[in-house]
């Protein structure tokens, strides 16, 4: 029998029992929609985690001023600055260390003309931008003389620049931080949100020396809140961490079992853990979704078996007028594949719509990829063929006289 005949016949068979056909398709549709949506959302989650990791900087350790114990009372980590600029300089001398950036931040009011903005002003050094992999959109970074002379210069984050200057170029303008004038020498490229959901662009950078001597005053002295350390490559992170730990213990006179007054965190490790968690999650979601595809396939098989039983006499009659077993096989197989194909198309539409809704609700950037569409189509057609084959074969093996006598 010709394909167009098979299609016509399966269309007719599907119309006879509309409700049943639609319900069978529904199973397939839900399966495909689930697979498409899960793959898209999983990919979306992974790419946002990946971009956050990339925005943090790579191969990075962060040393934070540790918990101080005073009279048996333990204070929060970082509450008392115990790290010094000299610690940072000492770390820079360690093997395997590529860059070191000390940092101290404090909230400040920034004023430009009639506009003002409250943000975190951060003292740091030129290495900071390298470690964070953070390019400048305009202007230049801190020079060596800026660092030495504690110059009143600032680099603005995008959010700060937008709030103070609108669309105008801030480089070369003078802003006031804590009532003192600062020359804007650079503008950072936009970076987006951090892991914790903070706006990383809402910041102003000044030289650490300036921050210590002129901005934050005596409360900090020579201390810094944290020191960022970048290793030359990922494999060096662990040895560098051990070296930094040993060096700081020695410099801070911490012996043996004493708990250190600093804390070393390996952010890349954390981030990688988060990334692999999302990978496993999306794999799991995809797996669960494909189970629903298989369930849809079983639904098709179930209905096709019923259909073959119901139409046994029809099969006998068709054989009597000249249908070969392959014609009967083709007829029922085509019906099963048609049901799953239509269900699949509906599922693609529903899945795509679900992705749009998820994107809007959770502010994600999930995309239905061509590969996930292809996978769904292939799998659902395969499922239709696989689960349709047994009933179709059963029909094709019927003996004509017995089929004709069937009540």
């Amino acid at each position: 029998m010709i394909y167009s005949e098979l299609l016509r016949e399966s269309g007719r068979a599907m119309r006879v029992n509309r409700m049943r056909t639609v319900l069978t398709m529904l199973g397939m549709m839900i399966g495909v929609a689930a697979v498409v949506a899960m793959l898209a959302v999983g990919n979306g989650a992974r790419s946002s985690v990946d971009s956050i990791i990339a925005s943090m900087g790579s191969n990075m350790l962060i040393v934070i001023s540790g918990a101080r114990t005073s009279g048996g009372l333990r204070f929060a980590t970082g509450s008392t600055p115990t790290l010094h600029l000299t610690d940072a300089d000492a770390i820079r001398g360690l093997p395997g260390v590529l860059a070191v950036a000390p940092g101290s931040g404090n909230g400040s009011q920034i004023v430009y003309g009639a506009n003002n903005w409250s943000t975190v002003v951060m003292g740091t050094n030129p290495d900071y931008l390298q470690i964070r992999d953070w390019p400048l959109a305009a202007g230049a970074g801190f020079s060596a003389s800026d660092m030495r002379g504690a110059a009143r210069v600032a680099i603005l984050g995008q959010t700060v620049a937008t709030n103070l200057f609108g669309d105008a170029n801030p480089v070369g303008q003078t802003i006031r931080i804590a009532k003192s004038p600062y020359l804007v020498i650079g503008l950072l490229a936009p970076k987006g949100q951090s892991f914790g959901g903070q706006d990383q662009d809402d910041t102003v950078l000044v030289p650490i020396t300036t921050a210590q001597r002129k901005l934050f005053g005596t409360q900090f002295g020579d201390t810094v809140r944290y020191i960022m350390v970048q290793a030359g490559q990922a494999e060096l992170l662990a040895p560098v961490q051990a070296e930094v730990d040993a060096l700081l213990r020695q410099r801070h006179h911490i012996t043996g079992t004493q708990s250190p007054d600093f804390d070393i965190r390996n952010l890349t490790e954390l981030a990688n853990a988060a990334a692999s968690t999302t990978r496993i999650m999306s794999l799991l979601l995809g797996l669960i979704a494909s189970i629903s595809l298989v369930v849809g396939g079983i639904g098709i098989m179930n209905i096709m078996l019923v259909s073959v039983t119901e139409r046994t006499r029809e099969v006998g009659l068709r054989m009597a007028v000249g249908a070969r077993p392959t014609d009967i096989l083709g007829q029922f197989l085509m019906e099963a594949v048609s049901v799953s194909a239509i269900g699949c198309l509906a599922g693609l539409l529903v899945g795509g719509a679900a992705v749009l809704v998820v994107n809007r609700l959770f502010d994600m950037h999930s995309v239905v990829t061509a590969s996930s569409v292809l996978i769904s189509i292939t799998v659902s057609l395969a499922v239709g063929t696989f689960f349709g084959f047994y009933p179709a074969r059963k029909a094709s093996l019927l003996q004509p006289i017995e089929a004709l006598r069937h009540e």
Partner: protein, 241 residues
């Protein structure tokens, strides 16, 4: 001389049942020439239907041989037998066996679909055939909307649409009243006369058998009578006013 359309040599059929061997047909030797109109009679269980199934290649003999158009049916494969049913044989059943969701034309085109005839051609031939059996006004009706006689005419049109040479009718008038039966039998007689169609018809009723030229009577799986139909005068006078 051309070989007979149908020839059986010691043909028999037995079934293996849990209760033991069941011999349904024994030593059937029949030859049917093209253009014959044969009635098959016999009590229930005498093997008439099995004989018809074997003639129609719906089943295979377990003993002997059956030659259709000179070819041994037992040596054919499934597809070849399907092809014979498609091109050479037409079936008419007591219960019509129409597909209820297809209209008259689509029911009649069914054999042509399996013969690979194009859609246009198919419909034309189906309409012609339906016109020949007097259903030109009911082409687009569904079987359940039609009377028994009309449904049986659709079945006849379906049996003959692919130019079958052999029509096998298993109690075709069994579900019909006597007037409609006469109409259907008149159609058979006309087709037998005009197309030289070979007809083998199973019936319980002598009135129906009287339309045939030759009568084969079965009893307990054997042929007990094979000869020309006795045209009883009172029957002919009584049946036709």
């Amino acid at each position: 001389m051309a070989p007979p359309l149908i020839r059986t040599e010691h043909m028999g059929k037995s079934y293996h049942l849990p209760a033991g061997e069941l011999q349904v047909l024994t030593d059937i030797n029949v030859a049917v020439a093209e253009g014959e109109f044969i009635a098959i009679m016999g009590p229930s269980g005498s093997g008439k239907s099995t004989f018809m199934n074997l003639l129609g290649c719906l089943d295979l003999p377990s003993e002997g041989e059956y030659y259709l158009n000179g070819r041994a049916v037992r040596s054919m494969d499934v597809d070849e037998r399907a092809r014979l049913r498609n091109t050479l044989i037409g079936f008419v059943f007591q219960g019509y066996n129409l597909l209820p969701r297809l209209n008259a034309v689509d029911n009649v085109t069914l054999p042509l679909v399996y013969a690979g005839v194009g859609r246009r051609d198919r419909e034309r031939r189906a309409r012609e055939m339906l016109a020949q059996v007097g259903l030109e006004r009911f082409m687009d009706f569904l079987p359940p909307q039609l009377s028994g006689g009309q449904q049986q005419r659709i079945a006849i049109a379906r049996a003959l649409v692919n130019d079958a040479a052999l029509l096998l009718a298993d109690e075709p008038t069994g579900n019909l009243d006597s007037r409609t039966s006469e109409e259907i039998l008149a159609v058979f007689e006309r087709l037998n006369r005009e197309r030289r169609l070979t007809i083998v018809l199973v019936t319980h009723e002598p009135d129906v058998a009287a339309h045939a030229q030759r009568l084969i009577r079965f009893h307990d799986g054997r042929i007990v009578e094979d000869g020309p139909v006795a045209r009883r005068p009172q029957l002919q006078a009584g049946a036709r006013p």
